[in-house]
Symmetry: C2
Subunit: 318 residues, 2 copies
Amino acid sequence: MTAWAVDQASLGELVDAGLTSIEEAMYQATSSEVEVLRDASRHILSAGGKRIRPRLLLLSYLALGGNDLERVAKPAAAVELMHTASVVHDDINDHGIVRRGRPSVNSIWGRTFALLTGDFLFTAVYELMAPYQHLNVDLARAATALVEGETLQASAVKDKIFTRDIYMRIIALKTAALFRAAGTIGAKLANGSSDAVAALSSFGFNLGMAFQIVDDILDLVADESTLGKSTGIDLEQGRGVAVALNDAGNSSSNGRHDIADPMDQIKRRLLEGNTIAEAREQAELLVQDAIVQLSVIPNSHYKEELVGLANLVIERDY
Amino acid sequence: MTAWAVDQASLGELVDAGLTSIEEAMYQATSSEVEVLRDASRHILSAGGKRIRPRLLLLSYLALGGNDLERVAKPAAAVELMHTASVVHDDINDHGIVRRGRPSVNSIWGRTFALLTGDFLFTAVYELMAPYQHLNVDLARAATALVEGETLQASAVKDKIFTRDIYMRIIALKTAALFRAAGTIGAKLANGSSDAVAALSSFGFNLGMAFQIVDDILDLVADESTLGKSTGIDLEQGRGVAVALNDAGNSSSNGRHDIADPMDQIKRRLLEGNTIAEAREQAELLVQDAIVQLSVIPNSHYKEELVGLANLVIERDY
């Protein structure tokens, strides 16, 4: 084995060790004495998930020279728990029954306990981050943005107005804000320069936008067993990237769509037209833009992993 | 007007000014650009409520010599918003339709938006407290306890096991922990000695226990228009102080109660027997105990107001 290969291997090991510490921190943070909260939290956590947000935080930290895995584990765990809390509450509102390849919390424990489990995951984030002060401000803002984005989405569905502009605003709030916070917090934890912090914040934001667009495409085209969650919810509820882009292409509709339109017909039209190809192109542009941001960061193994993460976001099929 | 009277008046004015600052901080913290969140939050906030938790925090602060109303307003607002968040989520789970004399958030905006409004109030707390670090740890723990208490209660109802011990554990978590945090945070903000902080923490905890017992009695005996919220929910759901004490008096039942028992019959039995008198006596003992804790605090107008607050908790009929 060459010296270079050894070096690459040990760099990779630091990432793996970091991810393990993050899992432990999440496990620890959900060790309630109240059985239902512990069981339901760990049910969804142990199902896995892509862990893309904590990975983004960890790599941002390592790419700027951070090397204290204990220090980075709790904020990274908090970011993933925040996402998980929102997922548990989403599944109540959307009646989602499959999540991460398993029955959703509400489908096993019922709505009351799912609501409380989501609340508990929120308060676990709050407890984990309470000692961090300035970093905590970044995550707290992202938490509010997330809830605002979910609410805007529910309002748009209710009012049957789902334009491209509204769609972009929704995904910026509900998804990209938390990705941005992950980049920001990782960079700040490593005491990065203000340029480096701005670059990783912006990288995170663009990545989050691309991630959500791809997620919405997958909701439409993937099947449930590959994706590991209930699919077709966006279309059923009259939202998501396809609905937004489809309406944008038909300006006379002014974003209002006829939900009485049979779903099969809408779906066929979306899959036949350019809508999905256009959305994918937009996601690719966002990822290219994200990668450009990294030019101010010194080259390193971790920078390469950040680029790999960005590419994974658009190449994934789950 | 004597000098003493002037003095008393100006002391009272400081409390009033503090309460006004707290209202402003809550209003500010809920200034989302997302209409539903702002409207629903302010709907419930502007309905009033007793504001007993922020008052406890404010008086604890003033009693230990604190005098910076700007400094105390945000944490006090956070404590009230945390309580409000839990109330909004409670009303979803309990199908409560009246709260603070108004239609509940879920009855106006529906379940989806009520869930998101509760989440938003949680994240507003998180944002408000993010800069406070050590105090934030106290509030974060109380937030987790609150959710744990609500969950234990829902579990006890589901399992039909509602003993006196379980009841005391539930109210310690769901109510007294936040009251304790209010006392602790007020005292710490005023840079109180560790004895003073411990005294006000303990005062808050006992007050919270008494408050919840009285709340549960009122749920049983008060009418809806006086109380300003849906009544009889505890009994209907097989929980609350009366159910706990009633079971304790009948040891053979081992805390299991027959929910098929017609509600009218249970209610009559409870109102005729000693159950409510016993519960009220317990609340009075807790308040006496709370007041004893204050002996380590120097005498002042604010200490008298704390005693007044404690007495109000057991004397109130709403």
